[in-house]
Symmetry: C2
Subunit: 612 residues, 2 copies
Amino acid sequence: MFTGLQLKNPDLPFFSHLTLLFTHHLIVMKFSLVLGGLAALASTAVSVKVNPLPAPRNITWGSSGPIPVGDVILRTSDSHHHKHKIVRHAWARAWDTITDLKWVPAATEAPIASYEPFPTGAGLTKRTAVTISSVQVSIVDGDAELQHGVDESYTLDVAASSGSIKIHAQTPWQLIISDGRGGLIIEQPVHIWDAPLYPYRGIMLDTGRNFITVPKILEQIDGMALSKLNVLHWHLDDSQSWPVEMETYPQMTKDAFSPREIFSKSDIRRVIGYAKARGVRVIPEVDMPGHSASGWQQVDPQMVACAHSWWSNDVYKYHTSVEPNPGQLDIIYNKTYEVVKGVYDELSDIFEDNWFHVGADELQTNCYNFSTYVTNWLTEDPSRTYNDLVQYWLDRALPIFRGASPDRRLMMWEDVYLSDPHGTDVPRDIVLQTWNGGLTNIKKLTSSGFDIIVSSSDFLYLDCGRGGIVSNDPRYDVQSNPDGGVNFNYGGNGGSWCAPYKTWQRIYDYDFTTNLTKAEAKHVLGVEAPPMVDSVTVSNEFWPRAAALGELAWSGNRDASGRKRTTLLTQRLLNFREYLVANGVQAQVLLSKYCMQHPHACDLYYNQTVIT
Amino acid sequence: MFTGLQLKNPDLPFFSHLTLLFTHHLIVMKFSLVLGGLAALASTAVSVKVNPLPAPRNITWGSSGPIPVGDVILRTSDSHHHKHKIVRHAWARAWDTITDLKWVPAATEAPIASYEPFPTGAGLTKRTAVTISSVQVSIVDGDAELQHGVDESYTLDVAASSGSIKIHAQTPWQLIISDGRGGLIIEQPVHIWDAPLYPYRGIMLDTGRNFITVPKILEQIDGMALSKLNVLHWHLDDSQSWPVEMETYPQMTKDAFSPREIFSKSDIRRVIGYAKARGVRVIPEVDMPGHSASGWQQVDPQMVACAHSWWSNDVYKYHTSVEPNPGQLDIIYNKTYEVVKGVYDELSDIFEDNWFHVGADELQTNCYNFSTYVTNWLTEDPSRTYNDLVQYWLDRALPIFRGASPDRRLMMWEDVYLSDPHGTDVPRDIVLQTWNGGLTNIKKLTSSGFDIIVSSSDFLYLDCGRGGIVSNDPRYDVQSNPDGGVNFNYGGNGGSWCAPYKTWQRIYDYDFTTNLTKAEAKHVLGVEAPPMVDSVTVSNEFWPRAAALGELAWSGNRDASGRKRTTLLTQRLLNFREYLVANGVQAQVLLSKYCMQHPHACDLYYNQTVIT
């Protein structure tokens, strides 16, 4: 096998970029996937049809057999040279990764083996002399901005014995295939046409419940780039903490967990820039008016209702929040809107994306029993309901939120339309993120005309099944199964509201457009997975499961004949997990390594078509 | 607050050890707990009664108030100077940790707060001039070996205004308290008497299903030392891989996952030495005759039955193993015992502990349909049963296992006595590890006269609830809850045989001697938590939950009045998790950090006595 080390020539011009990357040596980006994919095409001298993750939409193989990949020169063909900085840097990282990692797959996909029946009585393909020596990238629109809907399609060709790789892309933001394997020879000819099924393929980071350090955020972006996920939804704060440095109201970070757990503006710019270079958008969220105490209460305690109440899940008629600690913006208090505008405008200045998530989930009416403003407002006119209160919020807050930019598009959680209480006239241009009710809510929302992002908790919540998130819980104090059946501690949910744990199969098998009309299906803009994590936990929780989501949203979970290809994802995902780890992304182990080394040996069913 | 940095004097003799520890800078050991605990006794000038984990058996406070801790000199008082190397090194690490980490707790235990009622209508203690400047350690038996039953008890005294800390220990192997907090002043006077409830407090590392690197194993030992766990049960191999370098049969490591995933003899010695310096025993396991294929099959394929069979969970009457891949030692084939003896003797030479675990779990009779030796043996005498086959194994293998040393004590999984098939005459001196059936099996085994280690899967299996460990599983492909009830994907087990996830509360609340007679209870030697992990996952899975187990086995889960103190463990464990992370042990996050900073704010019940 040829290795990158043998072929590496440090005199070639694009290697000059490599030294700059020294401090990021663990980090690989999506453009690495150009060569990662190519290098992977054959790691032995026999013909290998690689199995990249996410699977490309279309890949056509010839039969000429593998050829070596030599030192490869990047050529670009459009005239927008200023845009090529991104491509050149990506290229440099890519080549660096390939030559440094010298990745060898544990095993590629193979048919399930034949086994001895259960006893019941008692060729080398000829190599060509050609070597791949250039990658030619042409970009139709080098000026395209990284925003929702940017064209991410591309074609990739290795013509028989051509000596070069041709990539033709609509914009610089395409994400190019890899299965994360090394070995610098290439099966050819090959033609790939690829483009995402959905323009929004995201994960959510919650830095409000627990802080996540910038290096760990960058690690997630690396994983996203490798698996063609393109939206980082950054749930900045929650009632538990306010970690964002603010100029307008510097006192808000008194509610950071500690002075070390604050994002400076330059931290945020670093995340945005790092993500952009890898084709990942960063959409901020400030969750309002629910999930709001920390930060806001430092500006004006009156703008937060019920901040110091007992959350009272034990006496449910008095409960003020769905989880500790309580706190909601006071919707009737006038100064609330002044502070909200100050915070929102300042954050709008720093986050470059046209989209902004403004929360609106899980409003608890009981919380407002603690607000004299709200109780007076309700008393003034007995016809007023809590739904009217939500609409009051929308009527006053939406002009502020829309005012930041003419291109501003708002996201909210589905609660604002579906929950009790909910708005009475929710504008249809708001993108709603659905997290409850699975297919039922998807149908409800899309048939009502909303564009949606799918985050159904029964399929995509990565933190499910890890027990409860509260203390002093007597339900765990049970010494034996009370009835032999399924209950809290025995086969049941163990205190996790969305148990069981969502396996990669569960994620990948989700047919989230089932039963939608064609028109409704067009309202589904994409998918997103949100867990609760902290710096130590985050990579384990996301990876490699988010990569299964990446493929689901990029090229779907079915083959050309319409059959689910979950069993074929297995080998791809097991290898990809090792590649993530090799790239410094601390991904969870899924199965015994034996399973990766022996394709399908760990299948539950011998029948390979049992998942339909 | 005084910090270690201010007080640190690099001229003191014990600092000479510090440079040696440079490469282990992330590592803290149990002896750090001397000062960790002491330093933690007060981090503010107001009186603080610390809350160490595990809680000591007895702690008595005076009321003189906190005094500073200065540069502290270690004095030892027995004549066994050669043994003091361990104490001196531990001391050096301890002081290093304290002065480097400068640990400040997020919040100490506090009573649950008072909250505003739900609206329904609409002092400094005076400081003394004394400074703590020495720690005086006296050891009764400096020659005691680190083996099962070694006396780990100690007393720790800070007399009022005495200027010194006195530690009186029976052996060098005591584990001394800490709550993992810094700040070098000390509440005094204080008297601690401490000793473990159970001599066996373990975790199990499985390096057969997935490899775990030596640094990650050492990281677990750090966590163990910090939480007073004292046995590392090292499940060396399994059917999936053989990772141990062997001189007798060097070909066995052909079944390592890769050449990088092999433990050399010096790796193993390093682990044993590192553990010993921290009072942790290392008990090896070679799982036989079940769970055996890798390694053995390289010596002689005939000694492994059904290694190449389909595991066949899908056609259960043909199933050959409880998980992929299959393989069991052929019990009738003579050469099996020759090879087993070679392997066992070589490992017995390197592992220093008197105990050795020889497996004996989950034997599948169907596997032996593939063995002509076994099928012929059964046919020869139709009265022979599979139980006789198990007994045949014991009769031939036990003399080999006992032969290694006159002090050898054997451990086996309970299956050898309780499962179908099982031995017909299992010697009562074998320590059985119980993992099924909770209290029922504990009663069965102890009433039968066996000493046991408790690893009940319903309470102590840390990898439960993370979904299935097999691929091609159609059960995940369900798009909505079929009946609105609890089932596989909705509130159910999600493919995890021992779901749900075992929370720290579940672990801590386990009263594993319930309903035992006094005589039966004496047979319970301790507890152990075993998960399936790999290098990336291992620290997250064990920590901080294993620390809850540490306290359960060290000082129990009840206060002096017999009431469960789970709600008081909360603050201790949340802080301890942060301390683990600060010491380089990558422990899982349990709750939002807000919960740690606000004691009991995240309790499910306001009533603090709801867990009884």
